[in-house]
Symmetry: C2
Subunit: 208 residues, 2 copies
Amino acid sequence: MNRSDTDTDTDTEARHREKMQRLKAAVDARIAQAQEDTGVLLVLTGPGKGKSSSAFGMVARALGHGMKVGVVQFIKGATPTGEERFFRRFPDEVTYHVTGEGFTWETQNRARDIERAQAGWVLARGLLQREDVPLVVLDELNIVLAHGYLELDTVLADLTARPLHQHVVVTGRGAPPALVELAQTVSDIKVVKHAFRQGIRAQPGLEL
Amino acid sequence: MNRSDTDTDTDTEARHREKMQRLKAAVDARIAQAQEDTGVLLVLTGPGKGKSSSAFGMVARALGHGMKVGVVQFIKGATPTGEERFFRRFPDEVTYHVTGEGFTWETQNRARDIERAQAGWVLARGLLQREDVPLVVLDELNIVLAHGYLELDTVLADLTARPLHQHVVVTGRGAPPALVELAQTVSDIKVVKHAFRQGIRAQPGLEL
C-alpha cells in the first residue's frame, strides 16, 4: 500500500500515539530496571544543619519498611547522642557502631583519630558486604576523608563493590569530589541562619 | 598606689586573664540563659533532598532523650510512608497526624486541599499549646503556605505563642521570608545531583 498526502490526520495521530506509547514503555522499562538494580549512593554535605539528622530520618523510614539498617558514626560518640540511644532499642534491625571519640577538635590526638577511623572502616566494609542490609549510613565519613584519615581509593572501591540493591548515605562537610562523582544524589546544605551564632547551644532532640 | 611603666608583664597578664574570665563568665551566662529560655524554630527549605528526613531524624533524637514529639504532615499521606509506619509504633511518645492527601499535583482539587490544610493547622495549633511536647514537626508546611492555603499571620502568631522551651521544625520548599525571619536556624538544601534525574525512582527507605 502506498502512502499519499491524503493519509488522514487520524492516521498520523494514531502513529504518533503508538510511537509515544513505545517511548513510554521503554522509559518505564528503564526506570523499572534502574529501580530494580540500583541502590542509591546519597551524599549529604555542606555547612548547614540537617545532614546527620536526615540520614537518621532515613533509618526510621527504612525501619518502617521492615528493612535492616547498618550505621557507622565516624566522629560523634564522646557522649551517646539521642539517635544512638534511640536506635539501639532495635538491635535486631539496626547494627549500630560508634567509632569516633567526640569531635576532632576535642580529641587533639591525630594518631588515635586515624586508628579509630580505620577501625570504623573495617566495620563499614563489613556492612557494605551484607546482602541483607539494604541501607547503610556512614555518618561524618566526609570529615574523616577530608582529614586524610582513610584512603579515598579504598573507600570508593568498597562502595562500588557493595550489593547492587544497597543504599548508602554518607554525611559530613567537605565531601571529596570523587565521592560526589560516584554518588547518584548529592545535597549541599547551606546555612541561612544558625542558632549557635545567636548564643543558643546545641539542643537535645535537634542536634544531640 | 601609682601605676608605672615598671608594672610587670606578669601583672598585665593577670589582668588580661581576669578580664577574659569575666568575659567568658558573661558569655556562659548568656548562653545558659538562652538555652534555658528558648526553644528553637528551625526551618529546612530549598529544593534538595533531606528536608523531611532531617526532621524525622530529629524525632528519633528526641525520642532517644525521652522527649514527646508531635508531628503534622501537611502534604504527604496518600500512601503511608516509612516514617509514618515507623513512628506510629510509639503512640505514647509520638502524636502523629497526616492531613495531606498526596502531593498537590496529584489531588487537583484546590478547595479540598485548603480544607485539609486548615484542618491540619487546627491540629498543629493544639500541639503548639502543649507544654509536655518539646518537639513539634510541621512537615511540608512551607508548601501549604506557598500555595496560600493558610494565613501566614495566623501561623506566625501561633508559632510565637508556643511554650518557651518548645522546638519546632518546619520543612518544605519555598519558606516564606517572614518565617525565615522568625526562625533561629534556617538551612537551604541545594541539589548538586538527584537520582530522579538519572531515571531512578523514589526509593523506599530513602524518600518514602
